[in-house]
Amino acid sequence: MNHTTNELKKVALQVRKDIIDMIYKAGSGHPGGSLSATEILVAIYFEILKDDDVFFLSNGHVCPALYAVMAEKGMIEKSLLDSYTTLNSPLQGHPERTKLKGIMNTSGPLGLGLAQASGYAAIKKDSHIYCMTSDAEHDEGNHWEAVMFAAKYNLNNLIQFIDRNRIQIEGTVEEIMPLGNLIGRYRSFGWKVMEIDGHDFNEIIRSVETAKEEVEAPTVIVANTLFGKGVSYMENDPDWHAKAPNEVEYKKAMEELK
């Protein structure tokens, strides 16, 4: 590891503050998923990506987390975060490849990211290709077309994280559209499957090391996470899928993120 767990935790805390700050200032954004995905994104950018490896974000609405991680990593100016969603900003409400250097794929519309990551992985066999998806976007047919493609073409260089926070816009994933035995489904398609705590840096990094040893199959790492993690009143509450905190809520959130 390049960093100690404590260092990564510090980065994650700062990313969470940035997420709340950006969404508060913008008056819009998706805090719940951004907060659940924080450790996965920090781990990917600070520990996992090497050489020609690339990362595809599929559930692009969690881009406040992505932008904050990019800023912490020095890929973009930290001051740029204040421009999130403002006119002419490269930090669009959903990330765009042609607007911001470092973004592999324009995303937001769900179910499209794994397919692009798979296409890339089918060409760049010598790199590791990472993709993060949400559990709710597993409702999308396009996603499963990619699941089959990646298995058929033995994309062992493809590693998918599922941010398994179990919440979507209008309720829990279980209420809106049950995913059945998600792990079993992936296994039946020929994927290697791991299940981890998506807030534990050691588990995230170790799971990737194991995935890299795979010689035939693509790997999916089901990362169990807490929607809205770190801000008590957002945790597990679908209302915070796409909502900005008011001033009182903002102050409370920043108080909790210390």
Binding site: L112, G119, Y120, A122, N142, E145
Partner: protein, 314 residues
């Protein structure tokens, strides 16, 4: 008589030889979209994604992100028919050189009925920023168009017909994306016919009849619907003062609409639109039966010309 799809398939094999970045993906339609030969010859650069058009386009986008020039093939009713959003978001908004090949466009799959007849694809594709839209008119032009779109570096829709049709362009005639070709030009023309795709021979037939009755005609082959050759269109609108557009597509939003938008802005003249008038197709043994039923014939083109000349002169 040769098919446009065969022109595409043959050119693709040639491209495969010379350009190692060309990859081909199909959604269980390698044979009928004429990429089987490419698949046999270059198995490492061919990907069978299954009956999964959304995956077809999005996987191809990923390959383009990795530096390849992917050609995706399916029937136009499925891609771009089903894949509009995938094309908009992962191809056009990313500005990637993915080629969307829409086969059996128009009435070519006549026996299969309305579900398999693509009469909306030009409208769908030309409205997306960054997209280039090309609609070749015969076998020879399909070959050139395939070569050209491979190297244009842009998201591109290539519209292909299924049926054997007359080969009326020459092997050495020029083809440039965005530059319309003049197929027929009277020195003192009174009307301009603008056509696209394999319906153009009907327009040429209509022109012949008109010339015989003393009415001078210009026939433009508008093989590129986007970017539009505004200069040529405006030039002939000025000279003739009347335009008839002809396409195997809905008149709403199609090639004729594109022409009308340009002329309305630059030099408004009376225009008549020959095409499908806001209805679905249906089954027929051959596409000709449907061309007849839906008014895509030289007779109907002649009627449209009479009408537009009447409007011009009153």
């Amino acid at each position: 008589m040769k098919s446009i799809r065969d022109g595409f398939g043959e050119a693709l094999v040639e491209l495969g030889e010379t350009n190692k970045d060309i990859v081909v993906l199909t959604a269980d339609l390698a044979d009928s979209t004429r990429v089987k030969q490419f698949a046999d010859k270059f198995p490492d650069r061919f990907f069978q994604v299954g009956v999964a058009e959304q995956g077809l386009v999005t996987v191809a986008a990923g390959m383009a992100e990795a530096g390849k020039i992917p050609f995706t093939t399916s029937y136009a009713v499925f891609s771009p028919g089903r894949t509009f959003e995938q094309i908009k978001v992962t191809v056009a908004l990313n500005d990637l050189p993915v080629k969307i090949i829409g086969a059996h466009a128009g009435f070519g799959a006549s026996m299969y009925g309305a579900t398999h007849e693509s009469l909306e694809d030009i409208a769908l594709m030309r409205v997306i920023p960054n997209m280039v839209v090309v609609s070749p008119c015969d076998y020879e032009e399909a070959k050139k168009a395939t070569m050209a779109v491979a190297n244009n570096g842009k998201p591109t829709y290539l519209r292909l017909s299924r049926q054997d049709s007359p080969v009326f362009t020459k092997i050495d005639s020029k083809f440039e994306i965005g530059k319309a070709n003049i197929l027929h030009e009277n020195k003192n023309p009174k009307v301009t016919i603008v056509g696209t795709g394999p319906i153009l021979p009907e327009a040429l037939e209509a022109a012949k009849t008109l010339e015989e009755s003393g009415i001078g005609v210009v026939v433009i082959n508008l093989h590129t619907i986007k970017p539009l050759d505004e200069q040529t269109l405006v030039h002939y609108a000025k000279i003739t003062g009347a335009v008839v557009t002809v396409e195997e597509h809905q008149v709403m939003g199609g090639m004729g609409s594109a022409v009308a938008e340009v002329l309305a802005r630059n030099f408004p003249v009376p225009i008549e639109f020959v095409g499908v008038q806001d209805s679905f197709g249906e089954s027929a043994k051959t596409y000709q039966g449907l061309w007849h039923k839906f008014g895509l014939t030289k007779e109907k083109i002649n009627e449209a010309i009479k009408k537009v000349l009447h409007r011009k002169n009153t």
